[in-house]
């Protein structure tokens, strides 16, 4: 055949198929329609080409039908089990990070357990609550402390901390679920992977304090809020008891309440008009406040301060703490918010039923979730104290985690284009979390050494004033009773020889001047006014001698001082 007689080969020109049927050269592969699919071998046998009498034997296998797209957004058992496997892996990592933090109880933990044991005994047997540590718990004394007391009765500080670990792990599960609902599976996995390794999660997950159950309850309230977004507006009230309970368990939960209300609005807005969505937020806020009102908790919360009982800190110091403890995570969440506002999807499998959102709606959701991570340091900055910020940051980290997950997925890019960036950021988060959580447990003077000294001097008839609340009451039960230890942070009611009644720091100072206490324990992390008043009274009286001083091995300025009356 001559070249001149052949038809020209252009992209649109038909080319002869092997079977004699012409197809378009522009089609990269044949359409998997019924006509072109190979038939089963049994039906197939041999084919006889039209232009050749010789029979051609076909391959003894079949090529399955090629799907139209490479992935399927619909739920499947494989996807479900892979996601659950990753969730389990994250939970194992989180548990391992927390469980490695073995140390003696911190004063706050010890105070909670002492108060909790007494309250539990009061609830079960009606015995009187005599400890002055009941008011030390930054939450309702009748919710978390008895629970911690029961756990402590079962296995001491380890039992109470394992209880917190259970709360923390459940929080991570809820976070996974709600993030998946808000965004998608990939974001959810990234979100919990980042959240599980930050310092606040690791520490609060192994710290006998009411923040652990409170964070869980906030997560539950957020979960209900997200999952009822497409349902009738009134259903958001289901989240109100959890939110109210969170506020009662730990007063610091109120820091997360504005974000929860905003979340109620932001999650409903794409599905309904702004008015009903706003009504949803109002309902949640009103429902939460209404649930707290009958128990008088609202008034207590109004009088509470996140800096209560904490020493002051400079603005620079608080900013440094903020950057160290939550800086990278917050930056990731803010970056995620910006990326999310700019672009809703990144070829991920959508979980929201294909509802498209406007930029304003996305901005509201991103801001609502990220704001608490910024609000917590801002409040501590305004109050000039960061003593309890490592625990309060947990609320901010929880709510910002979905956006941090978005940030991480956007960093990796579509089709896992830059996995190394995601790995880099996660490893940095892990390293910071590891270091900071370990430091958190090593920080401060060695309580074991302090207790060893106190034990030598504790007597059944002694009276002790201590700024290190809880430790002696919890650990020195064999040589003293909790009633012998007076909390200097709470102050002392003392009547002097002239019959004058003194209260608070003045009472403590007057009692020291009169030599009322056998031993005085100072803690530099106590409020400065208390510390100053006690130190001045000790110096002026001349009846007490400094017998031991313990400084922090990590170089922070916290110090315990033990003065003995001679």
């Amino acid at each position: 055949m001559s070249a001149a007689s052949e038809p020209p080969l252009t992209p649109d020109s038909p080319v002869p198929a092997p079977g004699g049927t012409a197809t378009r050269a522009g089609s990269s592969r044949p359409r998997p329609d019924a006509d072109t699919l190979p038939r089963p071998a049994a039906e197939r046998g041999t084919a006889a080409p039209e232009d050749d009498n010789q029979a051609v034997e076909l391959a003894p296998y079949t090529i399955p039908q090629v799907p139209a797209i490479g992935w399927d957004p619909a739920p499947s058992p494989r996807r479900r089990w892979i996601a659950r496997g990753l969730l389990l892996a994250v939970l194992i990592v989180q548990a391992a990070l927390s469980l490695r933090l073995l140390a003696a109880a911190h004063p706050d933990e010890a105070a909670t357990m002492v108060a909790g044991r007494q309250q539990l005994a009061h609830l079960l047997h009606g015995t009187a609550v005599t400890s002055d540590l009941v008011g030390r718990t930054p939450g309702s004394p009748w919710l978390y402390p008895p629970l911690a007391g029961a756990a402590a009765n079962a296995n001491g500080i380890f039992g109470a901390r394992v209880l917190s670990l259970c709360f923390a792990l459940l929080t991570t599960v809820l976070l996974y679920s709600l993030t998946r609902r808000l965004f998608n599976e990939r974001v959810a996995i990234c979100s919990i992977a980042a959240y599980a390794v930050v310092q606040s999660t690791v520490v609060v997950g192994f710290y006998a304090a009411p923040e652990a159950p409170a964070v869980l309850l906030v997560a539950l309230a957020a979960w209900i809020t997200v999952f009822t977004a497409r349902r009738p507006v009134a259903l958001v009230l289901l989240a109100a008891p959890a939110a109210a309970l969170a506020c009662a368990v730990a007063y610091a939960s109120t820091l997360a309440m504005p974000a929860l209300a905003a979340l109620a609005l932001a999650t409903a807005w794409p599905h309904r008009r702004l008015g009903p969505a706003a009504l949803r937020a109002l309902l949640l806020a009103a429902g939460t406040a209404g649930a707290l009102l009958p128990f008088g908790v609202l008034g207590t919360i109004a009088g509470w301060s996140p800096a209560r009982g904490q020493a002051g800190r400079t603005v620079g110091g608080i900013l440094l703490d903020t950057v160290q403890w939550g800086g990278l995570f917050t930056v990731l969440a803010v970056a995620g918010t910006i990326a999310y506002v700019r672009r809703e999807q990144m070829h991920e499998s959508p979980e929201n039923g294909g509802v498209t959102t406007t930029r304003a709606q996305r901005a509201l959701l991103g801001t609502a979730l990220t704001a608490t991570a910024l609000l917590v340091p801002a409040i501590h900055l305004a109050l000039g104290s960061s003593g309890a910020m490592f625990r309060h940051l947990g609320f901010g980290m929880l709510l910002a985690a979905p956006l941090a997950g978005v940030g991480l997925t956007r960093l990796v890019g579509a089709h896992f284009r830059h996995p190394q960036l995601g790995i880099l950021v996660w490893v940095a988060l892990l390293a910071l979390g590891l270091e900071q959580s370990a430091l958190r447990y090593q920080n401060g003077p060695d309580s074991g050494r302090l207790l060893a000294v106190l034990r030598v001097h504790a007597e059944p008839q002694g009276r002790y004033l201590t700024e290190v609340d809880g430790l002696a009451e919890y650990y020195l039960g064999t040589v003293s009773t909790p009633e012998q230890w007076v909390s200097a942070r709470n102050g002392t009611d003392y009547r002097d020889a002239a019959g004058v009644q003194h209260h608070g720091d003045d009472g403590s100072a007057a009692a020291i001047r009169d030599g009322w206490f056998t031993m005085v324990v100072l803690d530099s992390t106590a409020p400065a006014a208390t510390d100053r008043a006690l130190a001045a009274a000790l110096a002026a009286g001349g009846q007490y001698r400094l017998i031991a001083q313990f400084t922090s091995p990590t170089g922070d300025s916290s110090t315990y001082k033990v003065y003995l009356k001679h």
Binding site: A104, C166, S447, R449, A452, V453, Y474, L476, A539, G542
Partner: protein
């Protein structure tokens, strides 16, 4: 290949109970609480009980060598030495200042053999410069005695010390003392009410002395050196009757013992009460701290034996005088107790009383 649906369902149902059981197991087998673990050490910070060979009960063996002191019980690492039992012990300190101690402990054994009992305080004099003789102090303690450092600011004014001129040096000493973690008595600028030392009343005001004392004390406190017994040590008022002691007193918070330097001389007061009484009476007007005779001896002569009797009788008559240091060095005179056999015999007889020279590691 996937599991059988019914079996998979069974596994799923078992997950929660299995997880709960594992959690309970972990809780039940939890590690020991470090807060309790440290306290479980027996008799924390408590000294060992007295043994037959303790300084207080020791008598020289046939060769005259002192018996080895009892080894103290192990104290948890990091718990500061508790000096409070040493502040007002039931017994009385039997102290000595011996030549070359603590650089060399050679003088200790002959002295112990001579008086029949090992001293439980050994005083030495340290300049306000150089380092802190950690090894020497440790040698004294290991010999069974409380180290007593008379710290002499020969090259620095008290006003300069108070102003922080020597802070780096003082801080270094404070940290070394804290690290040493053994009991040590320290006096600063002793006999400050006299005029024979460069820091005496002719060179420094009482305010300078008090400011310097408090400044140094605070540095030691900040360093965590709670193992120091602070001995405020004026000279007896006899040679300086017009110099009041109260302005020199840093305060009860800064002082553990009210020391006194007072020697029995041929021309001075002849009795315990006339020698120390006026000083003790004056100090009692502003302080209730125990008295400690931080330097004494008797000048050789006819009265020496009577001086020994006066010293010990006075010590036994006053419960608030907790001990003394015998200056057993030839300096301007021969103060050695063993120089005169009669004096030595009297001294040996009086120190045989069990109240003298208790074991500092078991003072109760």
């Amino acid at each position: 290949m996937s599991a059988h649906p019914r079996r998979a369902g069974r596994y799923r149902r078992l997950t929660l109970p299995l997880l709960t059981a594992a959690l309970l197991l972990v809780t039940a087998c939890g590690p020991e609480d470090p807060g309790f673990a440290m306290q479980d050490t027996e008799d924390l910070a408590q000294p060992a009980p007295a043994a037959a060979a303790t300084p207080g009960a020791a008598t020289p063996n046939a060769s005259g060598a002192p018996s080895a002191p009892a080894k103290p019980k192990a104290v948890p690492v990091g718990v500061p030495y508790d000096v409070t039992p040493l502040l007002k012990p039931a017994g009385k300190y039997l102290g000595a200042a011996l030549p070359d101690v603590p650089g060399s402990m050679d003088a200790l054994a002959p002295y112990t053999a001579a008086i029949g009992k090992q001293p439980n305080v050994l005083e030495y004099y340290a300049h306000w410069r150089g380092g802190f003789d950690t090894a020497g102090v440790r040698r004294i303690y290991e010999a069974g005695a409380l180290p007593y450092m008379a710290w002499e600011p020969l090259d620095h004014s008290l006003a300069g010390i108070a102003a922080g001129e020597t802070d780096d040096y003082v801080r270094g000493v404070a940290k070394a003392v804290a690290r040493l973690d053994l009991p040590i008595a320290v006096s600063i600028a002793h006999e400050m009410n006299g005029d024979w030392y460069p820091w005496g009343r002719q060179a420094a005001s009482p305010e300078d002395f008090v400011a310097a004392w408090r400044h140094v004390h605070d540095i030691f406190d900040r360093a965590g050196a709670t193992n120091v017994i602070w001995v405020w040590s004026p000279n007896i008022t006899d040679p300086a009757p017009n110099t009041r002691l109260a302005p020199y007193y840093p305060g009860d918070t800064y002082v553990d013992w009210a020391g006194m330097t007072g020697y029995f001389t041929r021309t001075g007061p002849k009795t315990f009460d006339t020698l120390y009484g006026p000083t003790m009476a004056e100090i009692r007007t502003f302080s209730k701290k125990p008295f400690f005779i931080s330097e004494t001896a008797s000048e050789q002569g006819k009265r020496q034996r009577a001086d020994i009797d006066q010293l010990f009788s006075g010590l036994e008559a006053h419960d608030d005088v907790i001990g003394f240091v015998w200056f057993n060095i030839v300096k301007r005179a021969d103060w050695r107790v063993e120089a005169v056999p009669d004096t030595l015999a009297a001294f040996r007889q009086r120190v045989a009383d069990p109240r003298y020279g208790f074991d500092i590691r078991n003072p109760r």
